[in-house]
Structures are given as structure tokens and as C-alpha cells.
Amino acid sequence: MLRALFITFALGLAVTNNSAHAQVLKVAGPWEVTGIDPAQTGYVFSRLQVAETLVTADPEGKLIPALAERWSVSDDALTWRFTLRDEARFHDGTPVTAQAAAASLKRALSGVGVLSQVPIADIVSEGRDVVLRLEKPFSALPAYLVHFSTIILAPSSFDASGKVKQIVGSGPYKVASLTPPAKLELKDSGTWWGGKPSIAEVSYLAVGQGETRALMAESGEADLVFSMLPVSVDRLKENPRLDVKIATIPRTRILKVNAASVFFDDVEERQALSHAIDRVGITKVILRNPELAATQIFPPALKGWYASDLQPLGRDVARAKELLTEAGWTPGSDGILEQDGKRFSVTLLTYSSWPELPPIATALQAQLREVGIEIKVSVGNSSEIPARHGDGTLEIGLVSRLYSIVPDPVGTLLQDYGPGGSDWGAMGWDNQEIQGLVAKLAVTTNPTERAPLQRRAVEILQQELPSIPVTWSELAIVSSKRITGVQVDPLEVNYGLAAIRWAK
């Protein structure tokens, strides 16, 4: 009995070992498939090219056609018309009709996704066109249609009650099998308008631990691995069988301060906080890449939003102390600042779903102590930041904020620095000028008209510091030399699997 079992194991070992490497492209990443609703894990299906949006973005952030081959806006800027490709087919063989696309978008509009932030009056189909009518002009609309929650699914994806029961998309790959939350197997859909993918089968595995992902790359068990930890990157770079590609992505780790609290209501206090931070030290030690020290809120990857001539944020402890004195704080007996009998002692809330946040928080604790600010670090769940923003009890939070939720950061700015601030943006900070600028940006499409407005918005954020940038982020992708054609997409819209080939 035992011998039989052993033989089975051994045979299994030999057989799977040979066949698995023959043709399947093995991909590993940290994202689990928890539920198949597009608003939940649409990004897995859009990045792995199972489902498509009407519009997509190239690695430079430029909007390019996807399911819609072109789009236009009426003179009054209220009607947008997206013309679908004639040759587009869903995986069940039915054509991608304007009705199906409109129905998918209507569903996205009513759910939890970015579309609910667009002033949409109506979505209808007219021939091959999907027509979106707006209540007021909104220039960033096509950028919102890049978001994964707006993927277009076939009518056969939904059950009678409108719930998604399977993903029937229109991309180069279709779902062969899905074992939530960890495994997704894909194969050539044979129906893609863009042609046949070079590799016919793809297997995706969700691997939560970064170390395990690194070992999968090193042992040759995965051909393409996403989101490597900084500590593994150096080691992987040394490996002759692997290629490491790194891109700075539009995600910034910021200190979200409560500008209505006695600690941060003066701009001098926020500037002092910024001067007290040793960003280069943090990025060198914790992130292993000093170039990630955030000198302003947006990283260079966000073209038109990164201003190279802006006075960079940096460390100046003496200036920090001066500014705090100007704001009325004086050192107490234990070195911690005081004002009217109140100690400068605040709780910094952060969360561990980004593993680097807690160590950064403790580094900040030590650095701010040097200027007389006492920080108590509290590590919780990511939902506590919005909760404490909501009830006004947040003092200071360390968060990781994505500025390319849609490829036009106007959407994120509109939320974060609009009246009342937002969960992940400003708190207790009310700036009429930036609100006016962002509102104007939201209706201006012409890039030359937008440029000075964008520049002024960034200047205000740099001067006023309603959120204090600490570090930028990077995306590290490791690929085996068995494959070629891997591209890093800093916006993480599409990983371009269909273009990957086996190396000769």
C-alpha cells in the first residue's frame, strides 16, 4: 500500500514536471481572486487580458483604443460617443455589441466603482456606438473607462438577478478554470481582434508571501513574477537566469495629517514635519532604493504632473525646529514640545496590508522625536483610516495612495483635495484655489490649457502640504530568460501577456 503510494507520488512528480514546462506560461502575483465581480477583482482579469475596457492606456499613460476603436465628444462637451471595433467578439462567440457594452457600463455605474464619480446622466447604445450623456462637462471621462471596474462582459456572464456568475470577456485569453482565491488558468480565446497570443496557455497563482514569490522565480517554477520585495530584488538581479525590471509607479506613501487639529492647523507645523523626515534614509534602508525618496507628491512617471523645477522636499532639522518655534511650540522638560500646556504627542495610524508601512512608521517615530514630536505608532486594518477620517479622530496616518486609479490623476485630486477632503486625502484642509483649479481641470481637455493649471495645483500641494509625501513606490517584475517580450506597465493596467514569447 505504502509502496504503491510512493510510486504514485514519484510518477506524479515526473509527469507533471515534464508536461508543465512544455507550454504553460506560469505567472505568480500577490493578488487573490476574492469574488469575481469586476469592482472587486476586475484588475486580475484586465491585467491578465481576459476582459477589456473600452479605452486603455499605454505605459506612458497615454489613452489608446481598446474595445472602442475611437471616441469623440460633442461641442457642448456633454455627449461622448465610443465606437466599438467591428471584429470584437466575446469568448462565447457572440459579437461585442453596443447594447452589451452599455449594459456592462450601467451595471458598473450602479455599483462600487470609479464610474459613480462621473456626472453621468445616461448610457445608451446607438448602432456600433456606446453613448454616454453627462450632466456637466467632464474631460477625464475616457480615463475613467480604463478602470478595471468598467470591463465589458458578455450577457452570458450574468445570472438572472444580474450577479456575475462567470467572466466571459473579449480579451486574448479566456478563463479555463478558476479556483478561488488562488488559482486561475487561462487559454487562448481564439476570438481576439488583436490576433493570436504567442503563448496559448497561462496559469496564474496568487502567492501572498513575497519570499515565496522570489523562490518561485529562482527555482524556475514561475516564468513571470510580480511585486517583488525590495529585500529580494538585489539577490534576484544577480541570478543569470532571471531578468529584473523595475518601474516607479504612481503610488506615493504619504502622511495624511488632520489639518484641523491643534498639531497641524498651521502650515508651519506641516512644513516642519516634512523637514524633520529623513526620506533618503528611509528609502535606503527600508526600500533599498534611495531614488524613491519623494521630493514631491507625484513621481516622474506621471508626466505633466511631476514638476522637475519645484523646490524638492528634503531634510532640514534646524529649519523644522525654527518653524515649530514660529508656530508657538516650546520644548518641555523631557524635550517634547508643548503649547499652552498641551504636549505635541500624536498617534500615527497605519496598516500592514502594505508590509513596508509599519517599519516606515517606526522610522518616522524616531526621526520626529529629534524635533520634539512624540509619535505613538498604531498598526491596524486599512479600513481604520477611512473610519477615523469619518469620525474626525484621526491625528496622523501613514498611507499608500495610488494616483493612477484612473490614468488621469484629476479624478483622484478631485476626491482627495476637494471640499471636505477624502478617506485617503486631505483632512480638515479647505483650499478654495485648488478646488477651483481641479474643477477647471475636470472640464478642460486641451493639454496646453491644462498644463499651467496642473503646475499650479502641484505647487499648492507642495507649499501647503495637506498630505506630506514620504516615498514613492516601485513595481519590480522578475521574468525568466525562457521568455521575451515582457514589459513593465507603471500604471498596472495591462501586463501584455499576449505579446510574451518563448525565447529561442
Partner: protein
């Protein structure tokens, strides 16, 4: 036998009630807003959580009276309906099938591998207490029990996956992928069972009937097989029941390290995301598993040593 089964079934029923009620209460008294947690679990931290949380609250009726929600769960349980996951929306039973199935395979493989290692070493160690085999076995047992499963798993990955390239470091679905996590658990289990076996064998080896078998000239292998194993097995089998607890503990860590979608992994996620039906379902299944394992251990002990039955 019928009394035995009835008693165990009643025990299972009580476990179900207690586990369900406790989970429900504990999840309720945890600080923080459940709707926020669920929204973060569903839509990820980049979403507009506060807004999503309002929709979640409305959709799931989280503001209804607590007692009503608990009674609903209890009613569902009586109809063998564990409800739907608040995060994925899938029936809890469906999720448990995948995850429990995976975990049972993992635990069973680990137990099997550990039985191939632990008791064998234990028998050799116990036959000559204080000998080389015994002392080496002790050192091995101390080392493997002392290393946390997480570290042991990483070490095995480094050696067997990275250096030798024999086994994949993560994944599931084929026998190749179960071997590493199973081995990680098995080494910890074997560390303990080898010592228990060693003591049992040493005790049996000292008995007059064992000595008599040797005196009458039976070959050592036959002595051990006829008079040693069955007698020494009684404490080992009782101990296997306790090992189930080590397995459940270890499984949580090992599953997340090896990206193995088991019940431990599911429970941790469900707690973080405040997915009450999933927590209740998972805890319930785990509780019932303990009852089942205890029953099985008792049954095997009874078969190994009929005196227990007569005494009872």
C-alpha cells in the same frame, strides 16, 4: 457501540452551538466598523471605502438587531445552510468544500509522512534506550520541534526548491505541490511522535512478556512485531489525537507560506475582513473535526486494547 455514537453526535451538536454563538459574539465585540472591514476586504484599500461601506451596510443589513442576525444563522444551520460569504458572495459551503478539502489532503499527507518517519525512529530509539539511535533521535526531535513551521518551511524551500529544483515552492492541485508543505508539517509531527513511540517501546521492552519472547529465542523483528508494536501503539494513537491540534496550528502558517488555499488561510482572511458567516462556518467545521478525530482515536484505542471496553 450505539451509545458511543449517540454520545459523540450529541457532543458534536453542542460543539456546533457553542462555536457558532461564541464566534458570533466575539466578532461582534471586536472594535471597528464591520461594514468598513468588509468593504476593504471586498474592494481593496484603494477604493473609496467609506462610500463602499455604506453600500455594504445597506446590502447586508448589518444595522439590523444582533439577536435577529444570530437567530437567522441558527435557523440556517438547522436547514444545513451556512449562508453566504460577505466578501466573495459565494455560499460558505462551496468555499469550505474547496478549502477544507485542500486542508484535509494536506493534513492527511503530513500525518502519513510523519508516521513513516516518527514511529520508525521511535522504535529504534526505544529498543536500546541511551544508545546512539536514541541520542541522535532526541537531538533531531528537539531541533525539529523547536524550529517554527514558518522557518522550517523556508529552509525546505531553499534546499529542495531553489538548490535542488526538485519540488515547486508553492501552488496546489498536484501531488508535487503538496509534498513540501506536507513535509514541513510532518517533520514537526515526527519530532513529537518519535519520542512518544520511543518511550512506549522502551516501557514495553521492559515488560516480562517482552523479555520472555526474547528468552524463548524469537528473532528480534518478530518479537517487536508480535509483542511490541500493538502494545506500544496505544499511547502513540492517543497522542495522534493531540497532534491534530498541532496540525491545525501549523496549517495556518504553512498554508500562507506555501500559497496553499486551505481552511487556516481562509479563517485568517475571514477574521481580518469581518466575514462573520465564513468565520462561523470555518470554526464550526474545525470544531466538528476535533470531535471526529477524538472519536476516531477512541475507537482505534478500543480496538487496540479491548480491556478499555470491558472496563467501561
Amino acid at each position: 457501540m450505539r451509545n458511543f455514537l449517540v454520545a459523540r453526535l450529541m457532543q458534536a451538536g453542542i460543539v456546533a452551538m457553542v462555536v457558532g454563538a461564541l464566534c458570533f459574539l466575539l466578532m461582534r465585540v471586536l472594535p471597528g466598523d464591520a461594514a468598513m472591514r468588509i468593504a476593504a476586504g471586498r474592494y481593496g484599500p484603494d477604493a473609496r471605502i467609506a462610500e463602499a461601506a455604506d453600500k455594504v451596510r445597506l446590502e447586508l443589513g448589518l444595522d439590523r438587531p444582533v439577536l435577529l442576525q444570530f437567530l437567522e444563522w441558527l435557523g440556517g444551520l438547522l436547514r444545513l445552510d451556512l449562508g453566504h460569504s460577505l466578501v466573495t458572495g459565494a455560499p460558505v459551503v462551496d468555499e469550505l468544500q474547496v478549502q477544507l478539502g485542500a486542508s484535509v489532503w494536506l493534513a492527511a499527507s503530513a500525518l502519513l509522512i510523519s508516521l513513516l518517519i516518527g514511529p520508525v525512529i521511535g522504535i529504534f530509539s526505544g529498543l536500546k534506550p541511551g544508545g546512539i539511535a536514541d541520542r541522535t533521535g532526541l537531538v533531531g526531535a528537539v531541533v525539529f520541534r523547536a524550529i517554527p513551521p514558518f522557518v522550517l518551511g523556508l529552509m525546505l524551500m531553499l534546499i529542495l526548491s531553489k538548490q535542488l529544483g526538485w519540488l515547486p515552492p508553492a501552488g496546489f492541485g498536484s501531488p508535487r505541490e503538496i509534498l513540501l508543505p506536507a513535509l514541513t508539517l510532518a517533520l514537526g509531527l515526527a519530532a513529537m511522535s518519535s519520542r512518544v513511540t520511543r518511550n512506549a517501546v522502551a516501557a514495553v521492552a521492559k515488560t516480562p512478556y517482552f523479555a520472555f519472547a526474547r528468552h524463548k529465542g524469537l528473532p528480534e523483528a518478530i518479537v517487536v512485531r508480535r509483542h511490541g508494536i500493538r502494545n506500544a501503539a496505544i499511547p502513540v494513537v492517543s497522542y495522534l489525537g493531540l497532534q491534530a491540534i498541532y496540525l491545525v496550528e501549523g496549517v495556518v502558517v504553512v498554508e500562507s507560506l506555501f500559497a496553499y488555499p486551505g481552511i487556516g488561510h481562509a479563517l485568517v482572511h475571514a477574521i481580518v475582513e469581518r466575514d462573520i458567516p465564513m468565520v462561523q462556518g470555518t470554526a464550526l467545521v474545525m470544531g466538528l473535526m476535533f470531535v471526529a478525530i477524538a472519536a476516531l482515536v477512541d475507537a482505534i484505542s478500543l480496538w487496540l486494547d479491548p480491556r478499555f471496553g470491558r472496563a467501561a
